[in-house]
Symmetry: C2
Subunit: 334 residues, 2 copies
C-alpha cells in the first residue's frame, strides 16, 4: 500500500497484545502496571514550559531511584571537575582501581542533580566499581554540545588519574547517546579509548529513523511517544545526523571500544540498539547484543530477568577489567 | 485493560508502518514487495488437504531456491544413510574436512526433496564447507518424532566419519527446531556434542508463547500467521512443551554447543531467538545474538544486509572450525 507522503506503508490493524506467559511472574506484574506516559512536549520556544516538564519528570522519578540507590552501600562525594559537577560513588566493598564513567538518562533534558547521583549509585552496585556520574548541563539553557563537552571534560580528568584500560564508559537511554558521542569526540581528538562502552536501551539516533520507532510505538509502555521535540530542543539547530549528535552515524572503522548493548523486544529503541551492534561489528569492532523478552525501554526490576541482565553486565565489565569473571563468553571463541 | 480470557492486555491501535530509511535500497525494495501469505491451514484430519498445502508451498518456493543454489559451484550426491535420504553437497573450492549438518526449513511440513537439496547447496556456499542436508520425513504421514529421529541417524553416521569438533549443526525456521532438538537428544543419549549450532530465525517454541508472536503479527510480511495447526499436526499428540518438540524448554545446564542465533526486528520468531539466547547464556553456554534491522522471518537477499549476515556467519563457523577467521569476536574478551 502507498501513502503519498512516506511511500509504501504496511497497514497493521488494531490489536490486543497479551502479557507473554514466558516471563517471570514479577515481570508479568510489571508489564500489567506500566508507569506514567511521556509528558506532553511544549513548543520549542516555550522555555518555562520545558523547565516545568523537567521539574515534573525529575520529581516523579526520584523516589523510585532513591529506593534502589539506597540498597547500595557506598560513599558519595560531589566534586567539581574543571567546572563540571561529578558525583563520585565508591561502593564500600570496592576491590580495585577500576572506574565507571556513568552518563545518566532522561531524554537529554532531565535526570540531573539528585537523580544523577542516585542513578550513579545504582550503577555502582551493578558494576561493583567506583562510579563517576557526570551531572552534565542540559536544555533548555544548555543545548548541544554542552552535554558532550561536560562528559569529555570528565573523561579527560579521569585519564589523568587512571590508565584508559581501567575506565569503562556507559549510559542508558539518553546516556547511551552522550556516552558514545563523547567517545567519538575523544577518539577524534586523539585521546586514548576507554576499555569498553556499555549501552543500555540507547538513544543513539535523534533522527528516529529506526524501524521500531514505528513498529513498537504503543507497544512500549515505558517510552510512550517519540522524542523528536526534545531532540530538536537538545540539538539547538545542529544537524541531527552529526555523529556527535546521533552516534549511530559514526565511522567506527576509525576505532571504537568493545561494546555491550542491551534492549528488549518491546523497546522503542530496539532498532537503535541492533543497528549500532551491526554498525560496530561491520566495522570490525567487538560488540555483544542482549535482547530481553518483552522488556520495554525500562528493564524489569526486582525480577529474575533483571538478575540475568546484571549477571551478563558484570561478566562483561569484569572481563574487560580483568577481574577473572568472564561469563560464558562468545560462541565464536574456540 | 483486561480481557476475560487472557488477563491483562495492551490495546494497540491500527497503524501505518513505513519502510525504515536506514535500510539499503535493495532491502527497502524487498520490504515494499513482500512474498505470498502463509497458506490457509486445513483441519487436522484432512490429510489430502495437508498434502495439497505441502505440494503448493514446495512448488511456489522451488524456483527461487534453485536460482540461488545454482550460484554455488558444487558436486551434489544423494545418499542413503541407514534409511535416511541425505543430499551431500561438496563445494568445488572446499578446503578442509569440516562438515555442516543442515536441517531445512518449511514449517516442519514442506521443504523436502529438491527444496532440501537446494537449501543445502545455498548453505554450502554460505559456510564454504561440505554440507549434509537431511531430507527428513514429515507430516502428514510422519509426525514427530520421525524428523528428529532422521536427523539423529544422520548425525550418528557423520560421527563415524568425522570427529565431533569438525561438525556444525544448523537450521533456519523449522530447521532451527529440529537441529537443536536433535542435539538435545544426542546429548541425552550420550553422544558427543558438535562443535557448534547455528539457529537462524528458529522455530524453537511450538507453543508459540513468545511476545513477538503477538507484537509482530501482521508486521512480519514473510510469516503472516501463527503456525499452530502445523505445529499440532507435527506433534501428533505429543506435548508441545517437550524439549524434543520445543527445544527452547531444554535444560541447557546439562551442556549444549556454542550457538549462533540470528533474527530481525520484524521477525515473528524474534522472541524465540532472544529467549533461546538468554536460556543458553543463563546456563553458562556461549551464544551470540545478531538481530537485523527490519528483517522479517526471511532475511533480505541480494542486499548489503545479507552480505553482513554472511560475513558474521562465516566468522562464526570459521572460528569454530579453526580456520583463522574469527571476525571481531566478543566484546567481553580481553
Amino acid at each position: 500500500m502507498e501513502n503519498a507522503e512516506t511511500g509504501p506503508v504496511l497497514r497493521v490493524p488494531a490489536r490486543e497484545i497479551p502479557i507473554p506467559v514466558g516471563l517471570s511472574p514479577q515481570a508479568q506484574a510489571q508489564l500489567a502496571h506500566p508507569g506514567p506516559a511521556n509528558p506532553e512536549w511544549p513548543p520549542l520556544d516555550d522555555v518555562d514550559a520545558w523547565r516545568a516538564v523537567v521539574a515534573r519528570m525529575d520529581e516523579g522519578g526520584l523516589a523510585g531511584l532513591r529506593m534502589m540507590a539506597d540498597q547500595v552501600e557506598a560513599d558519595v562525594e560531589e566534586i567539581d571537575v574543571d567546572g563540571v559537577r561529578v558525583h563520585v560513588i565508591t561502593p564500600r566493598d570496592v576491590v580495585d582501581d577500576a572506574v565507571y564513567l556513568e552518563v545518566h538518562g532522561g531524554a537529554l533534558l532531565w535526570g540531573g542533580g539528585q537523580s544523577c547521583a542516585a542513578m550513579g549509585r545504582i550503577m555502582a552496585g551493578l558494576v561493583r566499581a567506583k562510579v563517576w556520574a557526570v551531572d552534565y548541563r542540559m536544555p533548555p539553557d544548555h543545548p548541544y554540545p554542552a552535554g558532550v563537552d561536560d562528559c569529555l571534560t570528565a573523561y579527560r580528568a579521569l585519564l589523568r588519574e587512571h590508565p584508559p584500560e581501567r575506565i569503562i564508559v556507559g549510559g542508558a537511554s539518553a546516556g547511551g547517546n552522550l556516552a558514545p558521542a563523547m567517545v567519538l569526540r575523544a577518539r577524534d581528538e586523539g585521546l586514548p579509548l576507554p576499555a569498553a562502552v556499555v549501552l543500555m536501551t540507547p538513544e543513539l539516533d535523534l533522527t528516529e529513523s529506526g524501524d521500531t520507532f514505528s513498529t513498537l510505538l504503543g507497544v512500549d509502555t515505558a517510552l510512550t511517544s517519540r522524542l523528536m521535540p526534545a531532540n530538536l530542543l537538545y540539538a539547538g539547530g545542529h544537524d541531527l545526523t552529526d555523529p556527535y549528535v546521533s552516534p549511530l552515524f559514526g565511522d567506527f572503522t576509525k576505532g571504537f571500544p568493545p561494546t555491550f548493548l542491551q534492549s528488549g523486544t518491546r523497546d522503542l529503541f530496539l532498532s537503535n540498539t541492533v543497528r549500532m551492534h551491526r554498525a560496530l561489528r561491520s566495522a570490525g569492532i567487538a560488540a555483544d547484543l542482549h535482547v530481553f523478552e518483552a522488556a520495554t525501554h525500562v528493564m524489569f526490576m526486582f525480577a529474575p530477568e533483571a538478575e540475568d541482565r546484571t549477571r551478563e553486565l558484570r561478566a562483561f565489565v569484569d572481563g574487560r577489567w580483568g577481574r577473572g569473571n568472564d561469563g560464558p563468553g562468545s560462541a565464536a571463541d574456540r
